[in-house]
Symmetry: none
DNA sequence: GACAAAAAACTGGTCCGACCAGTGGTGAAT
DNA sequence: ATTCACCACTGGTCGGACCAGTTTTTTGTC
């Protein structure tokens, strides 16, 4: 009908990147490789890459910041500091639990969908993330935990779900780290978490959607409740984690 | 604190051209000056012009043909709101259903929480929204439908959930309108939707969380599946909804 | 060692000039 | 008048250069 002519290089690159974003290969966080990197990797000039990126920008799929890079646009308006929501839970930790409440639902859905839809490649990625997490120190665990959950979210093959979950994670990034760090200190909690992870992992791999969903939801709920429990013990848990290390060594 | 960065040259040129196109300064024929012309006229390099044009192409406002030039895209003035994921499903309608997939979950949760947590004031608001919706014409129904669902989401007293749902709704605003409009035309669908609304309403008001959740989820799923069904009948459903009132009076 | 200042090494933004590849008009050869 | 080579358009691609922000590393000082 219209144009069957070979797409211009920029077009196909844009389409390619778009596909990667939709697939989740490019997570909604800070990830898109630098222009020079893309250029050399794809064997084209930087100008072409820039044109492709502008194309995507026009579609509202990415944002670009001078000096920093290009990022996959978040669905939920990426809250930086000034966002009302941010202050909300910074001051009122209750919102943190609202966050968990929503996350519980979505992680459950993600796990269920992952169990149903994961390709072999997805399963491989999930396994890798899981094994890396198991073999890690409790201290460096935070990122790996994140990676594990994301690998599952990616396997859901629902870009919307992936983006929303990513946004939520961003939203609670600081506090989650505080949580994991603090939970990891307590052997009992950590073991429970590991058990949950194992359950999720096996459920997804063995394609048992219901089980996966339940396990994932239980996991999030457990983390949330553990956190709440701890918070009552040490009220200043989150505040401490958010404050700029007072550099008090003595 | 947000992004007040002076728009890049390419950005402002793109915006400028967009404005001209919308104003009609550039009619939909063989319009847009050549890249070299624009470059010299605007006092920028051709690369910048090309980036701007790609931006517009990404928004679907222009088409470019090798050897001929760039042209204002057909009769379909692009949607002004360039929301992040908006374009996403414009091209890939699959994403629309991903959106519904997530929404199903969250609307269910919202309804359940609303049933549990709604204050008297919430219930009052919900009732008002519901009654307004019932007494309305099928045509003006879209906004009222929106309002009804939001009143429930608000009653969940989970700001995060509200926030996310709001974002998702924004993303599918046009298509939802298309959906409602198209579903409303068909008595069978409309009655089913009304029934769902009634169920949700009563479940929430009578504080039956499980029921509310089920009804809400069924509702979203029904809308999604109805839409899918219709889409197969009339492939151009969404496109039509996105097109500017053809101003066809005769 | 701790810490702040300077430097280097990123990132994107812009420009230039060149050349390739389609398109269309003009004029010469037929 | 038709045909065809040519040339002046158009967009497509390239490479290198430089500017301007950001982040990391190094360095110099206490």
């Amino acid at each position: 009908m219209t144009n069957k002519q070979p797409l211009s290089t920029a077009q196909s690159i844009a389409t390619h990147l778009e596909q990667m974003i939709l697939d989740g290969s490019l997570a909604p966080e800070r990830k898109i490789p630098s222009e020079r990197q893309l250029a050399s990797r794809l064997g084209v000039s930087r100008a072409i890459v820039r044109e492709a990126l502008h194309e995507l920008h026009g579609r509202g799929m990415i944002e670009t910041v001078h000096g920093k890079g290009s990022f996959v646009a978040g669905i939920v308006p990426t809250v930086d500091e000034s966002t009302p929501l941010m202050q909300l839970y910074t001051g009122h930790s209750r919102t943190l639990y609202d966050l968990f409440e929503v996350r519980e639902q979505l992680e459950g859905q993600a796990a269920a969908l992952a169990a149903e839809r994961a390709t072999e490649q997805d399963q491989y990625r999930i396994r890798k993330a899981f094994e890396a997490m198991e073999a890690a120190d409790p201290l460096t665990n935070a990122d790996l935990d994140h990676a594990f959950h994301r690998s599952i979210a990616e396997a859901s093959h629902n870009p919307v779900l992936l983006h929303v979950l990513s946004s939520l994670k961003n939203l609670m990034l600081d506090s989650v780290q505080a949580a994991v760090l603090n939970l990891a200190h307590r052997q009992a909690f950590k073991q429970q978490i590991d058990r949950h992870h194992r359950q999720i992992y096996h459920a997804v791999i063995s394609r048992q959607a219901r089980w996966a969903k339940k396990a994932a939801m239980a996991h999030v709920r457990h983390v949330s409740e553990s956190l709440r429990q701890i918070e009552e013990q040490e009220k200043r848990l989150i505040r401490a984690a958010l404050e700029p290390q007072p550099a008090a060594n003595g």
